[in-house]
Amino acid sequence: MPDVSVRDITKSFPGTLAVDHVSIDFHAGEVHAILGENGAGKSTLMHLLSGLYRPDSGTILINGHPHQFSSPRAALAAGIVMVHQHFMLIPSFTIAENILLALPGSSQRRIDRKALVQQVTTLAAQFGLKIESPDTLIAALSVGSQQRVEILKALAASARVLILDEPTAVLTPAEVDNLFTVLRRLKQERYLILLITHKIPEVLAVADRLSVLRRGRLVITTNTYATTPQELAQLMIGELPLPATRSLSPPLTGSDSKSTPPPLLFLDNVSASASPGGIVLHNLSLDLRPKEIVGIAGVDGNGQTELIEILLGFRQPMQGTFNIKGAQLTQTTPTQMRDLGVALIPQDRRQEGLALSLSVEENLLFNTQRLAALSPGLFLNPNDIRQFAIAQIDRFGIRTSSPAAPVSSLSGGNQQRVVIARELATHPQIIIAANPTRGLDLGATDYVHRTLREHCQRDAGVILISTDLDEIFALSHRIYALYQGRLLGPVAGATGPNTLGQMMTGVTTSS
């Protein structure tokens, strides 16, 4: 029964110190929660344990003996397995076949299918893992079922330490209860469960001990009973002083101004179903008015993607109403939303924002608003395109060898400038900015923030969806939290940061 320890362990990536001299002792027979925001270093720490990364310095001890893992397979040999948030199963294989693949020595030629099925069934029964017949294809399973197969896979491979990465993110409440029952049973059998999470209620429900990470550093390791949810939220988020120059303003209401323009964007009681592995949105109500930035804070995977899909017209609300500038929308398409003046700075610029094989100037043309803004008619004028590109490169300080250079040759920050230059070039009234500064250096971040504020002052409204609380507080006039598909808030005045932290981690649902 292994006790696992990390001692003074450090891992850096170019530009960031992801794990900074962390030491924790984990004991066999406990559920140990690793708490932290996005980017706190909890996943990196667990990847060090599971053999995906190698530490820059520090040691991993198993039962007091130092170990070095060169690969996840080496970690498995020592009994450590990570169950990833995105399952590593082959959809066209059956449950039994997927489990077989994970077994050591699976390269042997003969497969005793009967014995395998027997073993899988026994293991499943022993730990209360309800699964379909081992001959069912993975593709036919629900997300919860797939997760149970992942756990079974680890158990069948004789793992004794299970690392679960945000295991409840994609589960229904009933499935969460079931998972916790399984975890408790594993604990009784002296397994060690490491639970990566940002949801404090779950920690309280299932963890014996917990460690909080913030910006790569260990904040505390303690017994769960010795702490309170409020304290944990505070420890996770840290101190967030409000910027002195700005304060949160209440939303404009109809009585405040003489002529009340309709809100730019208005969601009333909108719900949406989940795509496979996604989040269900529940009863979202949100309005956006000119000259304001509405911040939506939250840890990744709480419905941000689904909300963006609604706002961009990819996904239809199942119920509720969606208005843009006073007009109610029914069947929406991205083309229509673009026509209505909605611009998007997407979360993933390389996948969703740019065509890497095209040139900088072509990427500056890459949305229907920009295309429509060009000279009317069917044809493109290369001189206009070039001149526009040169103007944007100059105005946004995009560092590129030439407007015709492929955008893939630019640094991340400059690629983001290309996206922002394009999206804001047509002076859209509604700007949806999703993690607009993720991965940027300080100078570039500052620049993006200034640009968003400028556009806001010019009558645009911005919905800022971000996991970065500094950014949310620095820019927003009103702040909400997105937690498990529900929009909480708005957060009021001076108690802001604490309340927001508690909302994002599920401690409280109201300000």
Binding site: Q351, G353, A355, L378, P406
Partner: protein, 360 residues
């Protein structure tokens, strides 16, 4: 907007490598390498007539190559240019029976329109299957090729068989519907000029119109295109039917310009060679023109090699295949990283050097 220098370098290296492999192969077979290459050159470009033959062979490859290239720009593999070409040819032969009385200009316009439409509709089947039933276009276009082959076979044995009833082939087109030859007796016909005009049009469409930009944007990153408000499904359909129309036109022009009739084995696989043409042409219209000429020259030259040296004209296909294989090998990431260090000028010099060595 132009092919990257590295891809030009890899093309040149592929040509060099192919020349070396062919040289080695011929040497092993005890055949004079220099006479093969000399006759290949003479057969393709020895005199005006040979040049005209090269252009004649290049013509259907240019149309179909442009078709495959257009689809590739939208991120689609049109493996069905062969079938679309056959349908275009068949439709031309069919409509030819009814337009004998018309003026020549009108008849030719009808030939163009009918063959375009036939290819358009045939590719439209694949586009429909893709949009409505999510059928992979590689599978559907490939399968439709077989349907087209048997449709031609059935037609020339049945409803469209020549009146004389002697051979399984259609009646010849009426003279009015025949494309004029510009330098008789050479077979250089008006369709070859039309092909060049179409190449220019495709270039303008792709690189100088908003519709072409939307299509290329879709091919470059469909996810980002969707986020950008581009109706990706619509672009895919447009690219597909335009591609099919170009391939259909290839069939119509071939019937009207060269064969006058449709018969089984009407196409020696133009639609498949077109895929190689589009790849060797580096997805640029100018590149496709050059690649079609190169492939046409190989075809024309290989016939001469067969006559004089006695090496089978299959040699053309072998060279084409080796070039494409090397091109594929040189497109892999690791090799691209090496190639990016080689300058275009150096590769050109190398090519000239190897050509010189081979011919001596």
């Amino acid at each position: 907007m132009t092919a990257r220098p590295t891809s030009l370098v890899s093309l040149l290296l592929a040509l060099i490598s192919a020349a070396i492999v062919i040289t080695i192969g011929l040497s092993f077979a005890g055949i004079s390498v220099s006479s093969v290459f000399a006759n290949l050159w003479l057969g393709a470009a020895g005199d005006a007539y040979r040049l005209s033959e090269t252009a004649v062979k290049a013509c259907p490859l240019l149309f179909t190559g442009l078709a495959v290239m257009l689809a590739l720009h939208a991120g689609l593999w049109n493996i069905g240019a062969e079938g679309q070409l056959l349908l275009g040819a068949l439709a031309t032969a069919w409509v030819g029976q009814y337009i004998a009385a018309l003026s020549s200009a009108l008849a030719i316009v009808i030939v163009v329109a009918v063959s375009l439409s036939a290819g358009f509709l045939w590719a439209g089947c694949a586009a429909y299957l893709k949009q409505k039933h999510n059928v992979n276009e590689v599978i559907s276009t490939l399968m439709l090729n077989f349907v087209a082959v048997y449709l031609v076979s059935y037609s020339v044995h049945g409803p469209l068989m020549e009146v004389a009833g002697q051979y399984p082939q259609t009646n010849p087109l009426p003279v009015t519907a025949t494309l004029p030859r510009l330098f008789p007796p050479a077979r250089f016909h008006l369709g070859i000029l039309l092909a060049l005009v179409v190449a220019l049009t495709v270039w303008i469409f792709l690189f100088r119109t908003k519709a072409g930009f939307r299509l290329r944007a879709t091919g470059a990153n469909p996810t980002a295109a969707r986020f950008a408000g581009i109706a990706v499904e619509r672009e895919v359909t447009i690219a597909f039917v335009l591609s099919g129309a170009l391939a259909g036109l290839a069939g119509g022009i071939e019937v009207s310009g060269i064969t006058q009739r449709v018969y089984e084995k009407f196409s020696p696989g133009y639609g498949y060679t077109a895929i190689a043409v589009a790849l060797v042409g580096q997805r640029s219209p100018v590149g496709v023109v050059l690649a079609a000429l190169f492939f046409g020259a190989l075809d024309a030259g290989a016939s001469a090699v067969q006559r004089t040296v006695g090496v089978s004209s299959v040699l053309a296909s072998v060279i084409q295949a080796i070039v494409v294989l090397f091109l594929a090998a040189y497109s892999t990431d690791t090799i691209q990283r090496l190639i990016s260090r080689i300058s275009t000028r150096f590769a050109l010099l190398l090519l000239v050097g190897v050509a010189f060595l081979c011919s001596h």
